[in-house]
């Protein structure tokens, strides 16, 4: 079966000479379709860089990277992935509906097809009542849900999320996590999720990849063997806490090995 993402000895260095920074070194990963993968680690560990390499927003310096069996560039041009950034990045001059329709416009969908699809997506993120609002009329959490609706509007097989809830308060954040799990369950999309929150990574993922900095590498991989259906009770589950401890210890090991 073709992997959603496959990297072999992938490396990326920013800058040159003494100023250079090795963001990623010899990264091997393989993400199966339908997985929910979290990349976690301290800042500077290259988790965002790995996501941006997959998205073809930056190019690798060495190694090999395949997205749905294609080069990242081809996958991007084929619109194999939808991306959600840390900031919602909604266009101020477009209503919520028009923001969701943006990728569909680029793909030459007709007006009716766009409206129908945007309507479905806004129902999916439970914002159908706000379709004709402008972004500034929404809260931060709602804006980020619009960004998710936009990323999913063209049914990509992969959803890339770069610390999407980093700017939200804890309550909103937990609601958004539920939302993402529900959407993941309904769409069957492969999700690659960058975060620096341990509970968030454990709660959401099927696999957590623990990264360490200078140079950015992947250390431990922790399989989250919680049932796929998760809810507020999961956050009280004893095994959930064991897994959180396991990820935390893996992060510590990663830091110690660099000292």
């Amino acid at each position: 079966m073709t992997q959603a993402v496959e990297a072999r000895r992938l490396g990326k260095t920013f800058g040159r000479g003494e100023e250079s920074l090795v963001a990623l070194e010899d990264v091997d990963v393989s993400f199966a379709p339908g997985d929910f993968i979290s990349l976690i680690g301290p800042s500077g560990c290259g988790k965002s860089t790995l996501l941006r390499l997959i998205a073809d927003l930056v190019g690798p310096d060495h190694g090999e990277l395949k997205v749905n069996g294609k080069t990242p560039r081809q996958a991007r041009l084929d619109r194999d992935y939808g991306m959600v950034f840390q900031a919602a990045t909604l266009l101020d001059w477009r209503t919520v509906r028009k923001n969701v329709e943006l990728p569909l416009e680029l793909m030459d969908f007709g007006a009716d097809a766009r409206a129908a699809r945007a309507g479905e997506m806004l129902t999916l993120v439970q914002l159908e009542r706000f379709a004709d609002h402008y972004p500034w009329q929404l809260s931060g959490g709602m804006q980020q849900r619009v960004a998710i609706a936009r990323a999913l509007s063209f049914s990509p097989s992969i959803l890339l999320m770069d610390e999407p809830f980093g700017a939200l308060d804890e309550m909103t954040r937990e609601l958004m996590q539920q939302e993402v799990l529900r959407i993941w369950g309904e769409t069957g999309t492969t999700v690659v999720f960058v975060t620096h929150s341990i509970p968030e990574a454990v709660f959401l993922s099927t696999r957590v990849l623990v990264m360490s900095p200078r140079p950015g590498t992947i250390g431990d991989e922790i399989v989250i063997d919680l049932p796929r259906r998760r809810d507020e009770n999961t956050r009280e589950d004893a095994h959930y806490f064991e897994l959180i401890t396991e990820v935390r210890e893996a992060l510590r090991r990663g830091e110690k090995s660099r000292e």
Partner: protein, 290 residues
């Protein structure tokens, strides 16, 4: 968005005007809206009449000669007596202003789009344009008279177009280029090409800059037309009327012509403001919130 606006202000004129530019309502309803309007405009109206009254009182009290400073009452008398003549002259000056404004804006937008699209063009043409912008363009008026003939309306429109061209071109180019890198990255992630980025990100981003510079240009276009008229040409235009009446010591007539020019300038400005509201409802609503 307002943060961007602050960078646009090229001349103090805009700053002056921006004090009230966001506040002209398109739709109002209900008594509370009327009260709000009242609160907003009453001070301005009161201040206007206070200035006129002080002006009138000052000139009467100190017996200021009319060729130094005409009384508002004399100016208004002239304004109503010579109404047909000055409004006719005003209309012809307005044609020069609006025609030159349209030409200058058109060429400015074409240049901006080319500069935003092609880096080579930008690097070659923009420094030259900024250097030319330092030139006192009104000084070109005699040369334009020579090129087109002083009685040809294009000799005046040409000066207006050149005056309007630079601020609109420089600001619009800036608006097309100063886009949020995150928005460009978003467009890349959905495989948008350069033309799509231009149409969907750069052009909407430039609209506030474009309208801000056009608002400056409305006043500039009337100034340029009247100055160009001072250098000769048809006699039935505002510039010549003001010169002639001043030479005949008919100062209230000159002041009445200036009043007509001011009324036209404000009207022109308000029309651009209304166009801005129609084309950028999101921007105005953002400002209203802040």
């Amino acid at each position: 968005m307002t943060g961007r606006d602050e960078n646009i202000q090229e001349t103090h004129q805009t700053e002056l005007m921006s004090a009230f530019e966001g506040d002209i309502p398109l739709a109002t309803a209900g008594p509370s809206a009327i009260r709000r309007l009242g609160r907003r405009y009453v001070p301005a109206v009161v201040a206007f009449f206070a200035v006129v009254l002080i002006w009138e009182g000052f000139t009467r009290l100190f017996g200021v000669e009319t060729f130094i400073l005409s009384k508002p009452s004399e100016i208004m008398a002239s304004f109503f007596e010579t109404g047909g003549t000055i409004w006719g002259a005003g209309f012809r000056t307005l044609i020069e202003s609006v025609g030159g404004f349209a030409l200058g804006t058109l060429f400015a937008v074409l240049t901006s789009l080319a500069a935003a699209r092609w880096a080579g063009f930008r690097d070659g043409v923009l420094p030259l344009a900024i250097a030319l912008n330092a030139m006192p363009i009104a000084a070109l008026a005699p040369i334009f008279n020579n090129w087109f003939g002083s009685t040809n309306v294009f000799s005046k429109m040409g000066v207006v177009a050149v005056v309007v061209y630079f601020p609109v071109m420089i600001n619009t180019t800036r608006g097309l280029l100063e886009v949020d890198p995150a928005e460009v990255e978003l467009m890349r992630s959905v495989a948008a090409g350069p033309t799509q980025v231009m149409r969907r990100i750069q052009v909407p981003n430039a609209l506030p800059y474009f309208f801000a510079s056009m608002k400056v240009a409305t006043a500039l276009s009337l100034i340029a037309a009247i100055i160009a008229e001072y250098f000769g040409g048809p006699q039935d235009v505002l510039g010549q009327y003001i010169v002639n009446r001043a030479q005949l010591f008919q100062f209230p007539d000159a002041w009445a012509a200036i009043l007509v020019a001011s009324i036209m300038g404000v009207t022109f400005y308000v029309l651009v403001l209304i166009a801005e509201r129609i084309f950028m409802p999101w921007h105005v609503s953002l400002r209203a919130r802040e």
